[in-house]
Symmetry: C2
Subunit: 182 residues, 2 copies
């Protein structure tokens, strides 16, 4: 036994990140992480004060950069703000794709729920329709964006009534897809 002096800590972080992204934070137990790493559950709690400490250490870099973006946008106004926010946010989400996935990772357990039909299959076909049956990168990405855009917006706490929200969603979604409303 006896690893070469705590490479274990890094292994724990890496395995935890993979498991959190795949099954969500709540959906991953300390036992799961220990099994993946190949050590005891007690070892995890020797290197980290708690399960939440592992999550915090994983998400802290992303949080710090988000705060940086926030600070950089603070001084800008109007068009400047919007045109800086877009690449800033995109780069952030791309650089921390796995962390983004961790935040969303508790969902798949639900979307695969039986009696809702095979949601993944239906969603695949919906994406294909949104992309206009096209396999071009631009169309496929735009279709994914519309899927997420409508989903998140409808789930948000926007207090807008449906009849006001609907036309804006449709207009902006069509614009995202490169289809000006006609």
């Amino acid at each position: 036994m006896a690893r070469p002096a705590s490479a274990l800590r890094g292994l724990i972080l890496e395995s935890a990140a993979q498991l959190f992204a795949a099954h969500g934070y709540e959906g991953t137990s300390l036992h799961d992480i220990a099994s993946a790493v190949g050590c005891s559950k007690a070892s995890l709690l020797y290197h980290f004060a708690s399960k939440e400490t592992i999550l915090t250490e994983l998400l802290t870099p992303a949080g710090a950069e988000l705060a940086e973006l926030d600070a950089a946008l603070a001084g800008l106004d109007g068009d400047e703000a919007a045109e800086a926010a877009v690449p800033g946010y995109v780069d952030l989400a791309l650089r921390f794709r796995r962390e983004t996935k961790i935040l969303l990772a508790d969902i798949p357990g639900m979307t695969c729920h039986p009696a809702l039909g095979s949601i993944p299959d239906i969603v695949d076909r919906l994406l294909d329709a949104l992309a206009g049956r096209s396999a071009d990168t631009a169309d496929v990405v735009a279709a994914h964006m519309v899927l997420g855009a409508v989903f998140v917006t409808c789930a948000s706490d926007l207090e807008l009534p449906d009849q006001d929200l609907r036309p804006e969603l449709i207009r902006s979604a069509l614009r995202t897809l490169g289809r000006e409303p006609g």
Copy 2:
């Protein structure tokens, strides 16, 4: 005691829907639901075979309509498909806003995580920047859409490398916001 013959079943469904939307399915225990309803935990399991049965009954109508949309889109191709998919999907998400929220409800517990700074505040300011400091409905909705679009797309299983994904995300996001790339 003795309620007027099982209005309880409806109360359970309503309370469960609220709690699932607020704290997620995993984040809501049978005890939580029983407390909200004002009955015993055993009563829940008298009216419903299991916790999952409650969730299934809540999500089934949405699942059925999603399947209908899927069927309606099956015959269409190209532009027809895209232009029918957008209002169809939007209407579905709007009609089942609470159900949509349930699917996303496991996230808030993470985004409020300490040591990531106050994510909700930062996100509010990011939305303001994306909207170009505008309070117009169109701009606010589009900002929410971009937030969700980039988030979900980056968390998706698209196997596109970052350097291909980035320009598409930025271009489509700007288009969503009504800002043609110049």
